[in-house]
Amino acid sequence: MKYLSEYRDGTVAQGLIARIKQTATRPWTLMEVCGGQTHTIVRQGLDELLGDAIEMIHGPGCPVCVTPLEQIDKALALAARPDVIFTSFGDMLRVPGSECDLLQVRARGGNIRVVYSPLDALELAIRTPDKQVVFFAVGFETTAPANAMAVWRARQLGVSNFSVLVSHVTVPPAMVAILDAPDNRVQGFLAAGHVCSVMGWTEYEPIAARYHVPIVVTGFEPLDILEGMLLAVRQLEEGRHEVENQYARSVRREGTPPAQDLIRKVFRLTDRQWRGIGAIPKSGLTLREEYADFDAELRFGLESLTVEEPAECRAGDVLRGNLKPPQCPAFGTRCTPEHPLGAPMVSSEGACAAYYNYARFRSPAAHEG
């Protein structure tokens, strides 16, 4: 596929890996924030090939993994209602709530449909006027323009049986939270390429300046990730800490302004709970007053549903990058994709699932930091 397959060239990849090893005069620790990047790294075995030159800490870049328990439980409550068709991206279906997951609710009779796009959910609402269609609006800033458009369009077309359960998070506050942590070891970041396609990279400039960390906006194919790592390592070797753009074919500094405009029009910033990490101020998006009638929590009276986040789970340590999944005592034994204890093992983008599915028998000793 054009603009995709060429970035998987094995020979070029080998060359880049050698180049990275040659450039690094000492081991460096980088974090990739985005789940899709984690997926490529572990799926292609890149981390193994880099050996000691770079330690990749996998950040909380999986919006599925960090969706608070509360929101999952609200989703389950909605999905169980006979008057509701609950629509969602596929990733969310297996994430465990307090008691069960969406797949189990479906087994019990809940009307749950996987959709590719929020507009498909809106179309479904238009086609089934006698049902309430709720869409689980999860994601980072990449998905916010799509979710914003679905709400805006619902208002424009006068669709009254459509609503959204919002659980959006934003990346920069999470990076700051990680950098602020006393045990932080991250020396540089690969920023999420598609988040930056939408938002540009201006928000990262103050972070790079304040914390003295290189931030390289990086794509998702193996060559993108390797080049991103190389640029980050070069900066570290040269003592620079700038925002650099590896993913130049898809990212500009200003991002996609019309998308930012609609996000701002439909959503506002709010404090958000990140599952496994805790509360991060102003790190989430919620519907503005003017669009509150599309908020499923208000429409179905769920806003007061709070769930005790149980005692700290190792998922938090994994999401903050302090623990490699194979080092978790439950990894592969009590916690597997079939019986997940936490979200990072369920979502195919979660670090635990990535390790379990792709790298399980590599010696845990190889991952000791």
Partner: protein, 99 residues
């Protein structure tokens, strides 16, 4: 985040006020919302698509440049090393070595 793939715009239409278009992904086609890029694309352009929306235009010149740079970067190893050695021997004072 994440799953955005490049596709080629086949046509652009107005659907009740929203810019939509058929986008081709290596032989597979889907209706995609082009509202966010409508002011900067024409049929034939490539866009990055995420959950049914074009979130940015693919800069084809940049793509070519990136790929060529990557190929070069991965091949220059030997030349770099040779150049470094040559530079070192040039810089070495009265070692008697030829330039």
């Amino acid at each position: 985040m994440c799953l955005g793939i490049p596709g080629r715009i086949l046509d652009i239409r107005d659907d009740r006020g929203l810019a939509m278009g058929m986008v081709d992904f290596g032989g597979v086609r889907r209706e995609i919302c082009l509202a966010y890029v409508a002011n900067e694309v024409v049929p034939g352009d490539y866009v990055v698509v995420h959950v049914g929306f074009a979130i940015t235009r693919v800069d084809e010149a940049e793509a070519r440049r990136t790929f060529e740079a990557l190929k070069e970067m991965s091949q220059l190893e030997e030349l770099d090393w040779m150049r470094e050695v040559a530079e070192q021997s040039l810089a070495a004072p009265s070692s008697g070595e030829a330039a």
